[in-house]
Amino acid sequence: MSFVSVRDVWQSYGGRPIIERVNIDVAEGEFVSIVGASGCGKSTFLRLLLADEQPTRGSITIDGGAPAREPGIERGVVFQRYSVFPHMSVRDNIVAGQSFQRPLGRFFGARLRQAREEADATLARIGLSHVADNYPATLSGGMQQRLAIGQALTARPRVLLLDEPFGALDPGTRLSMHDFLTELRAETSMTVFMVTHDLEEGFKLGDRVLVFDKPRWDPQDPGLYGATITYDFDARDRGIPYQNILDGLPSLGPAPVPADATG
């Protein structure tokens, strides 16, 4: 049942642990929000999930496969900024979501025309048809992020990683982006990890909310220990935790009466 499994992952930079002892199992289709103080290592954890970096210790696997050694088509990503290609038009950015897998990174002839048509359908769905020929720099922040998400989904990743994707947007745009993401999820039922510094956003969108924090703290040397997952909230059922806890952990329920005691 575990789709993404993270086993005892540590990451240190220059001997300083940033995150330590991270263990988590995520089922396919789950939406996991990650919150925590600024600088505690959320982006680092996401880079590990992305395989942009290798953990100092531990391993991360998707669907029981071998740990990835570099970013690839399995994991899509949207960062807070710089997630689209500035030198390509909006339409070509979407086409790139498919054509980059080709040997030369491009389509030609009929295949290109077909990809452009598909891209236009995607753009219509994400509400960017009217700017298909524009360059990203002319788009608002919310439109750029919508494009980035649309582009990432075009490549059909198995896991989508979002690093504060709405962090630079104003509150109104943020809300409409929430609806946008919720709709897309309903269509694709993809596994999502989203880093956010907005707790409310985390609970609203996520099925689970992971909190990163430092459980150990040395007042003489605050950098001595790294952060880990200190809370793992069930955010379904409007964020009221433990409603279905007995389904997942029957051992917490009333002790089963031993068979021989009744006999």
Partner: protein, 270 residues
């Protein structure tokens, strides 16, 4: 109001931009006038009218012996050397800069080497170039290449490294290979940078060209200037200097325009 917040109005801006040119021209005219009234044979600061006459003659009248108009021949020869040198440099630096910026192995191998190379004073190599490549065209083109390529490589590899890491990661998550990332993500984004870097290095390229022509050539703008220096022909020298300046300005303007036309996505970034 603070000085840093004061801006000239539009007519004022035009006036200010023209001011140094006008002052300079006036200073020249006055200086030339003073010297010529003291000694009509003075050659150091020829009157503007003399320069005008000389320029007209140089641009239109053929050589007495061959009938060829030397100035145009010199211009063609020099521009050919400059174009070849700068073109070859641009090509080498584009490829090398891309490799250094993109591939850690290439970076480790070449970046220190290029950094040291760029410290070698190219003009000091000129005698070696003449010995190795002879006095013909090759040595002049090679001097330009040696002179500006290290700078171009360093600039371009840095530009590649400046591309946000997020973009490179994003391309990988879309399934792009190293080649695809190089040709579809990085190359198009550093082409405008290449043009900008070439514009910056053109001054140096002219310097190396004229130096090489001054030392050994039988045609070319630099050759002609140093040839007529012997006769103190200031009117010819000044005509050539103004002509070279105009050419340099035109080339720069052309590259700027090309860049703006070819890379609309850069917006105001140029």
């Amino acid at each position: 109001m603070r000085l840093i917040n004061r801006r000239p109005s539009r007519p004022m801006a035009v006036f200010l931009a023209a001011l140094p040119f006008v002052l300079f021209a006036a200073a020249y005219v006055i200086g030339s006038d003073i010297r010529l009234s003291a000694n009509p044979q003075d050659k150091l600061l020829p009157a503007p009218s003399t320069i005008g006459d000389t320029a007209l003659r140089l641009f239109t009248e053929g050589d007495r012996r061959t009938g060829a108009i030397l100035l145009w021949h010199d211009t063609a020869a020099s521009l050919r050397r400059l174009g070849l040198g700068v073109g070859i440099s641009a090509l080498i630096s584009l490829v090398t800069g891309l490799l250094i910026g993109l591939l850690p192995y290439a970076r480790r191998t070449f970046s220190d080497f290029v950094a040291v190379l760029s410290m070698v004073p190219p003009l000091a190599l000129l005698p070696i170039l003449f010995i190795v490549f002879g006095l013909g065209e090759t040595s002049k083109v090679v001097l330009i290449v040696i002179g500006i390529t290290p700078f171009l490589i360093r600039d371009l590899s840095q530009r590649v490294l400046d591309i946000p890491h997020e973009e490179i990661v994003k391309a990988q998550t879309l399934g792009a290979s190293t080649t695809t990332i190089a040709t579809r993500v990085v190359l198009p984004q550093i082409l405008p940078r290449l043009i900008a870097a070439v514009r910056l290095s053109l001054g140096a390229a002219w310097l190396f060209l004229i130096a090489a022509e001054a030392v050994a050539a039988d045609t070319g703008l630099g050759y002609r200037i140093f040839l007529v220096r012997r006769y103190l022909a200031m009117d010819i020298i000044l005509t050539y200097v103004i002509w070279i300046t105009a050419l340099a300005f035109l080339i720069d303007w052309g590259l700027k325009t090309l860049s703006r036309r070819a890379f609309p996505w850069m917006g105001a970034g140029l």
